[in-house]
């Protein structure tokens, strides 16, 4: 591989791409964007991303959106590389991202625990993103996308999505 340098304007363009299923978050907020480099000799940009879930159907859209954003920023020669290790974790969602999620009515994830070894799972309390109450209940362990579960607030009665710790 030729030596590549971090590219700040290409990174800005790629980092502004929105997640197609959580339209309030950028792929940078989400931790999906891992690296952006530019080959100084050819100007070719390489963007490295990682999927949230292996079967995430949004990945193709994200790749296309990154290429479109880079082309618009003057980097037509761009390649998007997908890596799987280290595996994505909700711990990578930025503080700004968590605030945006809560503002959009999606309860942000708590810390991701150890992945294995619990025969009977524990669910920690999730605060209602609408009224802040801790008196909430899980309605469904899976939600509208692979990364969410569905909850209901007993205090304000509103249903809400929760991005589950992963």
């Amino acid at each position: 591989m030729v030596s590549a340098v971090r590219s700040s304007d290409a990174r800005r363009a790629a980092a502004a791409v929105l997640d197609p299923e959580l339209r309030v978050l950028t792929i940078d907020d989400l931790g999906v964007l891992r690296d952006v480099t530019e080959d100084p000799a050819t100007g070719r940009v390489t963007v490295t991303i990682t999927p949230t879930y292996t079967g995430c159907p949004a990945m193709d859209v994200i790749r296309a959106d990154i290429r479109a954003a880079l082309t618009a920023a003057g980097h037509a020669d761009a390649e998007v590389v997908t890596v799987y290790a280290p595996a994505w974790s909700t711990d990578w969602i930025s503080e700004a991202g968590r605030a945006k999620l809560a503002a959009a009515g999606i309860a942000p994830p708590g810390p991701a625990g150890p992945a294995a070894g619990r025969p009977v799972p524990l669910t920690l309390t999730v605060r209602c993103p609408h009224c802040g109450a801790a008196d909430t209940e899980q309605v469904s362990r899976f939600g509208s996308t692979a990364c969410k579960s569905l909850w209901r607030c007993r205090a304000c009665r509103e249903p809400f999505d929760h991005l589950r710790a992963f």
Binding site: P51, Y53, T54, G55, C56, P57, V83, Y84, A85, P86, A87, W88, A115, A116, R118, P119, V120, P121, V139, S140, R141, F142, G143, S144, A146, L150, F166
Partner: protein, 237 residues
Amino acid sequence: MEYLLGLGDDALVAAQRLGEWVTVAPELEEDVALANIALDQLGAARLLLGYAGELEGAGRDEDALAYLRSDREYRNCLLVELPNGDFATTMAKLLLLSAYQLPLYAALSVGADERLAAIAGKARKEVAYHLDHASLWTVRLGDGTEESHRRMQAAVDELWPYTVELFAADPAAPVDPAGLRSAFLANVEPVLETATLDRPADGWGPDGGRAGLHTEHLSYLLAEMQVLHRAHPGARW
């Protein structure tokens, strides 16, 4: 390559079976859950089959391997190809599969093959949630009504022999399958106990899946899965 096909085919066939529940699951939440689990399995299958195709070096990609192999060329275990049966059977299958995949992926995630380790490390996190889900349902049904208990016990009894194949010796495996059995049992036995279900006795189990000798159920599954691709080669949405 054969070993990767086994891993990938387990995930692919499990995904296809789970997908059959879409729109007909007992409740809407479960419809969404089974579809999401199927999607996780499909995601792992795509990565594993894609890698298997690259190792083979004959120009076959994930689609060629998924859509253009016949039943005799599939390397999945028999457990995943069995019909869904009732909801208890589906949950028992998911419990046994995820309880096996979890220690398997955990072992592969620290293995020498970096590419496989990356895929396994990712899939492992997802499978842990599948195991949680299947465990909750097994307890709910096993420790539920008389009828749900009867069905859950029947499902576990019927499927238990199919787990023998999962731990059979495989010279191509980077992880000794027999060594995974204690972790598998540690995942399953406490759940069965909490669910007030009897853990079936060990004994003979049907096998042959890893060698391409399948039940007829796989042929029907593949026929449905492959028909469009075979009828319209190279078609794009």
